[in-house]
Every structure is written in C-alpha cells, then in structure tokens.
Symmetry: C2
Subunit: 436 residues, 2 copies
C-alpha cells in the first residue's frame, strides 16, 4: 500500500472548484432594454470614446460600451487570476444547522484573493489594459482600502505606479490596508488632501470632514486628467468593472450546477457600488434569461447608505466635484456622506448603472440591513464556518439568514462572500463591546 493511496481521500463534498473562466459575461448585451448611456457632464449628450481617453485606456473604453455577451479574458490576466481562482464555492453546513433551516446554503468566497476581496478581479484587468497602452501611473480612490490594495497588488504585477486617495474616516480608523498598499509598493494619501484643487476646496468648506468616496474620486480623477502618462482606475460602478467581476458568477454558476443541477433559487450579495453583486448575480440572471433556472437576486445594502431602497433613479455624477460623466443610477445624491459610525463599508452614494438597470427591470430586489444585524450575522457565521466575513459581506449573510432561518423550504441559496474581515476586526471588537 503506497502512502499516496493510503493517506488521501480525494473527495471534499463541501468544497467545489471547477476551473478558471476563459470569458467574462456581459449581461447588458442580452437584455432587451439597453442600459441608459452615460452623459457628458457639460453637453449632457451620451459620452463617446473620445470623452473618456483622458481617463481610461482603449481596452476598457471598448468594454464600457460593448454589446458582446462574452468577452475573452486576456492570457496575462488569466495567468494572474490563477494565483487564487477559481475561488471556492463552499457548502455552509454548520451555518445551516445554526439557522435551523432546510435551505442549502452555498458561499462563493472571494476572500482567497491576495488582498482578501473580490476587488482584484477588476484591478488586474484594469492594470493590464493600462499597461498595454503604456500607462506609467494609475490614480484611484478607496474606502476601507479593499480596492486600493487590490490595485496596488495589480500595479506591482504590471510595473505600474499606484497612487491612492483613501477616505479619511477609513485612513484613520483602519490603517492596516494602508500598510498593505505600501507593502505592494503603492503611495497613499488621506482624502480630502491638500494635493488637489478638489481636495483643497473640500477642506476649505469643511475642515473636519471624514471624507467620502465621491470626494476621493474627484481627487484621483483630477490628478489623472492633468498628466498624459497617468490614467484613473475606478473600483466599482462602471460597466467594465461589472464585466470583470462577472468572473465570480461565471464560476459560481458552474460550481453550483456541479452539485445542484436545479441551480439557485435565491442569490444574496452585498451592494455598495454594485460591482460585487452584479459580478456574482449577472451570470445567474443569464441562466434565468435562457430558461435554465429561475433565481431571485437580492441586493443587501446598509441601512446607513440605502441607494437602492431609498435613493432616486436618475442621472447623477459619480463624484462630488462633478468631474465624472453623469450616470443613470440609484443615488442618494453626490453630496451624501454616511454617518461615520457606519463601519460596514458600502459607503458610496450611487449604484452601478448596470445593476440599477436590472433593479428597474425587476430582476434584482434591494433590502436594507442595519449595522447591528449585519455584524450579528457575521459573528454567527465566523463561529460556525470559521471565516470572519468582511463587514460588507455580512449584509448579504444577514439578508440570507433572515430569509432562511427556521424554514422547512428546501431552497438552494447562494451568498456572495466578497471578502474576509481580518483587517476589519476592530469593527467586530466594537460590535462585541456593544457599541452598535
């Protein structure tokens, strides 16, 4: 008897991996009603490629308006995806038991990426398309730091300098992801900063501001627009970001089909800017559109920043200074700043136009989750499944728990676990101390 045959059991029924996708999926190309176009902030006419070249490379501009349902993932991007993809789909049996439910809960876990979140899926693609256009530096904004650290990692892979403006509230209270950005070789500033016109104007107006993603976007866009070798990278909201994140759902659909031939009944994801939920859910909506299954998609957003459930669906800027195109989206208004007590990420005032569009079409429903309920579900998940979820992800877990607890219904549900929360443990400590 060899050691090989004796010591190994090749089956792990609770862990499903299939393979690394070869194509991203573009749901918009398969919808009868197109996504309303972005508008030029000056002319209010639909933006053309020429309006975007100061900010984005050609490959991403083409993806922003693509009508192809499948877009091939370039080999250099897939090569880097292979460092952690396919991410696992995990049957959460212990969490099911704790919830006393007959639902079968599957968790699609993006926390295995180098920075611990889904953000790398788009960061790597964006760094790649910029690198083939000869871009030397990328600027960006970040909130809790998930996106900034993802882009810093991606920049290190393609030899691009990364400069990050981080929302002041997170910069001060969550220093670890700032260290991570620097470890990857990136440069970090709190936002608003005195390095830009936008930042100085905001500080003059409100010196004690804790910042917002909209403010940080303005600063990063301003610096990119002023330097021909520099471009800007956005971590959510835009169509090309949503496209890159579809790698999550493309994998998840195949992984789920391998163990649940009927597919998903409900898909839960957290929604801030929307790219995580869109990336997970759009390939499930593909299955619905093509009649292969009939999943419901739930967007779990924080009660402190409820753009889908309480915002308006209208054209709005993506930033505070009004430098970005106008986007048709669910928005709380470009000046919206969530309460600083809010620790759960998902602080953006708007919602990805692609996701907002599916909400309007009735394909996605929003639900608002309180911070207390979110962290309570996060602790229960950590104690049963071991993984401490990112605060963002706890919103999806809480929404799922409320739906399936004490239910006899044998549903198949999928939770998008967009990242781990190891760098957000102070927020867990505050929750355990009863502060919210």
């Amino acid at each position: 008897m060899s050691a090989m045959t004796m010591n190994v059991d090749a089956t792990n029924p609770d862990l499903v991996t299939v393979g690394v996708p070869t194509h991203w999926y573009n749901l918009a190309a398969e919808l009868d009603v197109p996504i309303p176009p972005h508008l030029h902030p000056g002319t209010k006419e639909p933006v053309g490629p020429e309006d975007l070249v100061a900010l984005f490379p050609a490959g991403l501009i083409a993806q922003e308006v693509s009508t192809e349902p499948y877009i091939e993932i370039p080999d250099p991007v897939r090569e880097i995806y292979r460092m952690w993809r396919p991410s696992p789909l995990i049957r959460a049996r212990r969490f099911e038991e704790a919830l006393n439910t007959k639902a079968r809960i599957y968790v699609k876990y993006e926390g295995v990426s180098p920075v611990g979140s889904h953000k790398t899926n788009s960061a790597v693609a964006q760094a790649y398309y910029n690198s083939i256009d000869g871009v030397r530096k990328l600027t960006t904004e970040t909130g809790a730091g998930q996106w900034g650290s993802a882009l810093a990692f991606a920049g290190a892979q393609f030899g691009i300098d990364i400069e990050v403006w981080q929302v002041r509230a997170s910069y001060d209270s969550k220093p670890y992801r700032g260290h991570l950005i620097r470890t990857y070789g990136g440069t970090l500033h709190p936002s608003p900063s005195d390095l830009t016109e936008s930042g100085r104007a905001m500080l003059a107006k409100n010196p004690d501001t804790t910042g917002s993603l909209g403010m940080a976007v303005s600063e990063a866009v301003e610096v990119a627009a002023g330097d021909p070798d520099t471009r800007y990278a956005l971590g959510s909201v835009l169509n090309h970001v949503v496209l890159h994140q579809s790698v999550i759902g493309v994998e998840a659909v195949d992984q789920l089909n391998a163990v649940e031939p009927g597919g998903a009944d409900v898909v839960f994801g957290c929604a801030g800017g929307g790219s995580n939920l869109a990336g997970l859910s759009f390939p499930f909506l593909r299955e619905k559109i093509h009649g292969r299954s009939n999943p419901r998609v739930v967007a779990a957003e924080p009660a402190a920043c409820p753009s889908i459930t309480e915002g308006e669906y209208r054209y709005d800027h993506g930033d505070v200074a009004g430098l970005t195109p106008l986007l048709k989206m669910h928005t709380l208004g470009m000046d919206f700043v969530p309460d600083p007590i809010h620790a759960g990420g998902l602080r953006y005032h708007g919602m990805a136009p692609a996701l907002s569009h599916t909400v309007e079409l009735g394909l996605v429903q929003g639900v608002a989750i309180s911070q207390h309920d979110a962290f309570s579900a996060g602790v229960q998940f950590a104690r049963t499944q071991g993984i401490v979820p990112a605060p963002e992800s706890t919103h999806a877990i809480a929404a799922c728990a409320a739906h399936v607890a004490d239910s006899d219904k044998e549903e198949v549900v999928v939770i998008g676990l967009s990242g781990h929360g190891q760098l957000d443990l102070p927020a867990y400590a505050e929750f355990l101390d009863g502060k919210f």
Copy 2:
C-alpha cells in the same frame, strides 16, 4: 455551445490540490533511535500517562508516546479540516523570475485556514480529543496570537470555552488577533497577568516585563491544573502537536509528486517551537528514509531567538515556572526573552523534542535569519506572488531566496508558508519605514 464548456478551463498548472489526508504521520515510529522521553520535573524519571492526565485528555497522551507510524484522523476532525484542506501547493513562478533562478519553487500555503495559519491543524484535533473526554474549558498561551485564535476557532466548533494568555508584547502591539479570539467567543488576558500565582510572581519580579511564551505557558498550565473540568492545550513543541501538523507534509508530498515525480531537493520551513517545520518536513523525511527521494530539510529560525543554531541540546522546562515536564531539546534557557524589537514571531526559547532529535540525527539543518532579511524577502514575495507572508514564514522565504538566487541549478524546492501576514502589517510598515 453551453456556457459550461465555453467558459471554463479546468487546468491550473500552478495550483495543485490532491485531497484531505486520512492519517497523520508519526516519523518517530520509523527512526532507529527513539526520541528521548520527557522527564517528570520532580523525580526526573520518564513521565507516564498518569503524570499527564491533569493537563491532557487520553487521546492526546496516547499520541504523545505512540509508536505507530500512521494514526487515523477522526472523522469529526477531518470534517472540519475540509473547511480549508487540502491547502494549496503553489508554483511561485513570479518569485522564481524575481530571484533569477532555475530552481522550481513550490509554496505549501497554510494561510487559507480560517485564522490564516497552520495552527488550526492541531487546535481542531486537540479540541476534539478534549471534547470526547467531556472537558468544558481549555487554557492556553499565545504569542502573536496565531495559536490562540486557532484554538478559539476550534473551541467554537466543539462547544469548549477557550481562555488565552497572550504575551504582553503582542497583546499591546498586535490587537487584531485578540479581537479574532473574542470574535470566535474566546476570553483573552495579557501575560503576565494578576490572575495566577505564576503571573503575580513574575510581575513582582519585573513589573515592566513584555512577557514571554514561557511565562504565558506557566499561567495557562496553573489554571488548568487547578480545575478538574479544565485542561491545557499547547500549540507547538509536544509530540502530539507535531503529529497533527504532519497533515501539511502528507498533503505536500502527494501534491509535489503529482507534478515533480523526483520529489523535493530542499524543504525550507520556519522554526519557532518547531511544529510547523516538523509537520511539513517529516513526511518528506519519510520519503528519504524509504529511499523514494533525498530531500535536505532547512530550519529557518530568527537570529533573535536561535535555539537550534546557538542553543544547547539538553533537558529543559517548557515554561518559566518549571511546571511542565523536562523536555530534551535545543534551548536558549527557560528564562530567555527575545528583544522586544523582534517582530517576527518565533519567540519560544526551546524547540520541539521531535525536531531537535532530527537535527541531532543530521536530518535537519538550522540557519539563522536576521529580521531585516526576513522582511525584505517577505516584501519581495508579496510584490511578486501577491500573498503577504506571516513574519514567521518570511524566515523560510529568505532562507530559500539566499539558497537559490542567481542559481542555474534546476532544483525542486518547497517552502512552508505557515500563514499570511495580514494581521502583521504594522510590522511590514515598520520595515518599510526603515526601522529595522
């Protein structure tokens, strides 16, 4: 063409997974010379099971002195291992390129566990054997917090309360793993504390002490010995811990054989208490003993705590107060306290008797690595491979880098990456700021 066939490429040549082992491997049972027995601290005679029952459950005592080469992993333990095992073996191609080497570097990555380190491998087993003996509470010590958080996770799985004494230096400077312990439901104290005789005596002697693992062991042992429903759990050093960690190497040998039929030429691991390196390397030494390959094993230890390279091989206590059995090991003396500037974990004064024994037999060689060289290698690894290594693991990476850099030798080398360093990012920031 279905979405399934179109979107998925099932091969990922840089990521190897085989299966979850069914047995732990006990190298000691296959050595001609037995490991010297532990001695009773009072009589100086070899300890018998009756000497250990106040501290450990029957299942672990049996493993401590087992002469069986293979010990079956109980189903409830394997079920939990399946949450993250098999851990991946990753071909580190980008790191190879950065080192300009023809060596093929494979990384066995334990950072995918719920707490981000290899410590869960033994924590789960120890919690299980205690649970079947009806134990209600486990006490333990922890340094940087890897072991304490692993045991807190494991306790949550088996309904056992966990009480942790953490070395004061880490308690103060690395609060995140303390939050993690609490998130899993554990209780945390800095050590030395005023909760034990040992702790009060140490504080009386040196009120400003930053603590040591030996001190924290004394406190945890004292509390366990005084309560019939409480037992003690040790995260390294003892034979049963080394046994549990063999799951790392059992997997790694099979994973490597799947892509490198000649096996490993050199295996690098970091060594503090020794369980990580022993767990990784002993199954490779099994291959050597049975003539299937001929790997060299290198124990990378910090220059600040060099028990193998500068310690004596003699009987010594595992703790400061002299409550534990005498262990035959490489030791710097039970009073040794590393310089507080040392951020790299691996602070224990002794080395696992099982590993010390293989050093004496010439099967393992020690090498001391400076903190600067360790973190320098860690940053290089992070920028190339994405994963920020645990400070402990950076010692193994640095030892490997020094061995293979600019080499034309087509060696197959394996690095034990015992965990990720996301909760150790302040130490990376200090390194980037030039503080060491």
